[in-house]
């Protein structure tokens, strides 16, 4: 694995091409939220990767915020949760 990585610094067979990067990046674009992603627009790979980073950061912030709200919720909840698990898992 490490030898493959060092080979990729030279023009080795495992080094990903610009085209392959663009391919994978366009797949990432599909995952971005609709608001910023008008699929008819062909965005530059750099732009998509930038937006991807921003999107992941916003998801991290959401997890953080929701964690805080859930931790407050735990304080006020009793421990019966069978119904909740059932409704979540049976979806």
């Amino acid at each position: 694995m490490s030898s493959r990585r060092s080979r990729s610094r030279h023009a080795g067979s495992s080094r990903i091409t610009d085209d392959q990067i663009n391919d994978l990046v366009s797949k990432l674009q599909q995952l971005l939220p609709e608001m910023h992603n008008r699929r008819s627009d062909k965005k530059s790979a750099t732009k998509v990767l930038q937006e991807t980073c921003n999107y992941i950061r916003s998801l991290h912030r959401e997890v953080d915020d929701l964690s805080e709200r859930l931790s407050e919720l735990l304080e006020n909840a009793d421990t019966t949760q069978a119904d909740l698990i059932r409704s979540l898992i049976m979806q």
Binding site: R4, S67, I89
Partner: protein, 140 residues
């Protein structure tokens, strides 16, 4: 338990709820200090990422990186930083667990899967909050 055919979201929900149950069980009764509230917040957030990592297991590099971090509780061994700066790829290293140790192809694949998992986790957390607030008695 890591049957890959069992939908990710159900695995996530199951693990995350169990983790919440444990946190709840270990909670001291109110009133609590601000520090204790912060600790709970961190515990819930830790449980979110732990559920994601253990639901996916060792199948993805990003989840292996998170699992490693959870077990070792020290800085992951620094492999040579991904030096591919084309299209700003190296920025992804900052936001994807284990990104700095991945080659560019892996990094892009891992990023896609990581996003899907994050989205599922966020949905679950919202659903828990929503169903707790809409029921007449808050039960967890």
């Amino acid at each position: 338990m890591k049957n890959p055919n069992y939908p990710l979201k159900k695995r996530l929900a199951s693990r995350f709820l169990k983790a919440l149950e444990k946190i709840k069980y270990n909670m001291s009764p109110s009133p609590v200090s601000i520090e204790e509230k912060r600790r709970r917040h961190r515990a819930v957030r830790g449980a979110a990422y732990a559920s994601m990592a253990s639901s996916v297991g060792p199948r993805r590099a990003w989840s292996r990186a998170l699992l490693r971090k959870m077990r070792e509780r020290k800085r992951a061994r620094r492999n040579p930083r991904n030096a591919d700066t084309r299209f700003g790829l190296n920025q992804l290293c900052d936001v994807v667990p284990g990104g700095e140790a991945m080659d560019s192809r892996s990094l892009l694949n891992e990023t896609a899967h990581y996003i899907e998992c994050l989205v599922a986790q966020v949905q679950i957390m919202r659903e828990i909050l929503h169903s707790s607030s809409s029921s007449s008695s808050t039960t967890l």
